[in-house]
């Protein structure tokens, strides 16, 4: 095990604690979880221009974000405090927030905008601005958003807020004012301690996300999602769209050619034919 200790945040926000305490002996922890609404990886993706055709696509909460959310809900259950979920995306992204509320998030903020034309830094600026307005001790992300798979937004937000960041976390313990996180490395495990507020990006294995409970679904109906525009956060479109990265094109991978069947009735002949194929057609030998 490697143990490291991170420096305190550059400008840590002291958090007024509002929510009720789950356990009077614990100091409540307020979490913010950033969630992105992504096409289900089982969906058949169709390209349209530089983006994807959303018609008929099923969108889900990005799977790594589910681990981040579950970690936050467990903190709330153990210590009290709020779990605020934040998304930057089009109207349909509100479904992702409802889903999180049904699992146990207590508040939701929807920054509406055309996330498809923003680059990672643009998204990070929006999220950082939104997070500044929410009391928080810990900010959680998925380690990467499935689909884009940039693994950039969490670390960028940490930099924009001046917070310590621990990425690809598989185990998390939150104490008073500090937290300890484990990361799996090749052949070892790293344990890092950081003062709060801090940014965590969640890896598979951090926990086993729960199903939404039916009661949660009904309760979620009663929570109003706080909807904001980019302008409400004091940002302009120029701050967000096509900052450093410009999408040039998006193409589907080439179709795989169908395999070839070799009759195995005569094993020796089949082996000769496979060898011939490997040498002459695939040119692998």
């Amino acid at each position: 095990m490697i143990a490291r200790r991170l420096a305190p945040p550059v400008h840590g926000i002291s958090n007024a604690v509002s929510a009720a305490r789950a356990n009077p002996l614990e100091v409540p922890v307020n979490s913010v979880v950033c969630v992105t609404h992504v096409p289900d990886t089982e969906s058949r993706i169709k390209v349209s221009g530089r983006g994807i055709d959303e018609a008929g696509l099923k969108f889900i909460v990005s799977p790594y974000d589910e681990y981040a959310l579950e970690a936050a809900i467990r903190l709330k259950e153990a210590k009290g405090g709020d779990v605020t979920v934040v998304t930057f995306g089009p109207d349909r992204a509100a479904h992702a927030l409802r889903e999180c509320l049904a699992r146990g998030a207590t508040k939701a903020i929807h920054v509406k905008g055309d996330v498809a034309t923003a680059d990672s830094l643009g998204v990070a600026k929006v999220l950082a601005a939104a997070i500044k307005g929410i009391p928080h001790d810990i900010v959680l992300f998925g380690k990467q958003g499935v689909g884009g798979d940039n693994a950039l937004v969490g670390p960028m937000v940490a930099e924009l807020l001046g917070y310590p960041q621990i990425n690809v976390v598989t185990h998390l313990e939150v104490g008073e004012g500090t937290l300890k996180a484990h990361r799996e490395l090749e052949g070892s495990e790293e344990v890092i301690e950081a003062p709060m507020p801090a940014v965590i990006t969640a890896q598979k294995g951090l926990n086993e996300p729960r199903y939404s409970s039916l009661k949660g679904i009904m309760a979620a109906k009663k929570v109003a999602v706080d909807t904001k525009s980019v302008a409400d956060l004091g940002l302009s479109e120029a701050d967000i769209f096509n900052q450093r990265v410009v999408y040039v094109s998006l193409e589907l991978p080439a179709e795989k050619s169908g395999g070839r069947k070799i009759d195995g009735a005569d094993p020796a002949a089949a082996a000769r034919e496979i060898l011939k194929y490997i040498r002459e057609e695939a040119k692998a030998l």
């Binding site: 089982e42 889903e99 199903y211 409970s213 039916l214 009661k215 679904i217 009904m218």
Partner: protein
């Protein structure tokens, strides 16, 4: 294993609210992740997958329409969608949930005393207690009013005698809602597992609902405390009102089984090649089967949904539920038979989720009022004439009486 995409030919999803769709998705995910991977084995081994009970409880699947006791208070449509998704997994798992919610929690909640509710509702919701519903007897199925089980008041107790047959969850139940006659009037009683004089035995060797426990219950001078009667019950209409709850859920549940087999058959037909490199889906006779299935499923969905909306308005009548149960179970069974056919030899193997659904649906067609009994209920609703017990000719009456007397004398 890819997740189930659902079956929605005519954008019926647009008729559901966002919460209803979320409830459905949650249960659908649960079925894909927890039921589908284990169900064929459980079915083959004739074993109820008991480990699912706490998970279902945690999601709030038991007593989901109740809003007291911290329960979710779902509407009837959301409840129906739960049953639909569970039965896409397995009719036996759905039966478990139907009995727990519709046949045990419902009568305790609706006809029980405050003490009975406070004691049982939280436990049944949490899955820490399992319930069963004992109405049918070996000699009285479609005609439960003829039951022989009796309860007699004796000081501070009731004493039960008789036997029940074909009782879902019987041997695993912590509490049985037992219907028995008190001086000829049917009343409901709560009998706890382990009460002296109360024993159960499994019905083994079923070729249907193998992942669900079905048992006989025996009562031999079984003495229970006086307060274990469901105070409000006095008459056949009380157990029948429980059945109306459960039948409503079955009308939705059967659609789930139908959707499951339709999905399997459609996918299979597109990949199975016979004759000239064509998938069998390209043959008109196969398409005809698929077209029939999807048409009947779509009609069944509208029937179920209208029942649900009426139920939430308090306007649903038992004869409406009869139509839903009768039709939807029947078309589901026919869909399963067609799907079985489309899969050829694979259709008889438990490698595919088709033969299990098909065999399960045979029970579903019989229990909770047989197909034909529901026909008679609908017939009575449209004609005003009850045909369950048709008047006999004088000659037939005489012969039947003579036969009965002869049999009685033999005994």
């Amino acid at each position: 294993m890819p997740s189930f995409p659902g079956v929605d030919y005519m954008n019926i999803d647009s008729l559901f609210t966002e919460e209803e769709l979320m409830v459905r998705q949650t249960v659908r995910d649960f079925v894909d992740e927890e039921i589908i991977p284990i169900i064929e084995h459980a079915n083959r081994e004739e074993k109820f997958p008991e480990h699912l009970v706490p998970k279902m409880a945690e999601m709030g699947l038991f007593g989901a329409t109740i809003s007291d006791y911290g329960l979710p208070g779902l509407n009837s449509v959301a409840y129906g969608l739960i049953m639909q998704e569970l039965e896409r997994g397995d009719s036996g798992i759905r039966s478990f949930a139907s009995v727990q919610s519709g046949l045990v929690m419902f009568p305790i909640y609706a006809f029980g005393s405050k003490e009975q509710k406070d004691h049982w509702i939280p436990k049944l919701a949490a899955g820490s207690a399992i319930g069963c519903f004992g109405l049918t007897e070996p000699d009285f199925g479609s005609n439960p009013g003829g039951m022989r089980t009796t309860a007699r008041k004796d000081g501070d107790s009731w004493v039960l005698n008789g036997a029940k047959a074909w009782i879902t969850n019987g041997s695993v139940a912590d509490v049985a809602v037992v219907w028995a006659k008190v001086d000829g009037t049917i009343r409901g009683f709560l009998v706890e597992k382990g009460t002296p004089g109360y024993t159960t035995a499994y019905h083994m060797g079923k070729f249907s609902l193998r992942a669900s426990v079905t048992s006989q219950l025996f009562f031999e001078d079984c003495r229970i405390p006086a307060e274990n009667v469901l105070p409000e019950t006095n008459g056949i209409k009380y157990p029948l009102s429980c059945l109306t709850q459960a039948r409503y859920g079955i009308a939705w549940g059967a659609l789930g089984a139908a959707m499951g087999v339709f999905h399997t058959a459609t996918e299979y037909s597109k990949s199975r090649i016979q004759f000239g490199g064509q998938p069998i889906a390209a043959h008109q006779l196969v398409q005809n089967k698929l077209a029939w299935m999807i048409t009947e499923i779509t009609k069944g969905q509208l029937l179920a949904l209208q029942m649900g909306r009426l139920k939430d308005k308090g306007e649903l009548k038992p004869h409406h539920v009869s139509m839903g149960k009768m039709n939807n179970v029947n078309i589901a069974l026919e869909c399963a038979r067609s799907a079985r056919d489309i899969l050829g030899a694979n259709g008889v193997s438990d490698e595919y989720p088709v033969i299990r659904h098909m065999l399960n649906l045979e029970s579903v067609k019989t229990y909770e009022g047989t197909h034909d009994i529901h026909n008679l209920i609908i017939g009575e609703a449209v004609t005003g004439i009850a045909a369950y017990n048709p008047p006999m000719s004088a000659q037939a009456e005489k012969e039947a009486t003579a036969r009965r007397e002869k049999e009685a004398a033999k005994k």
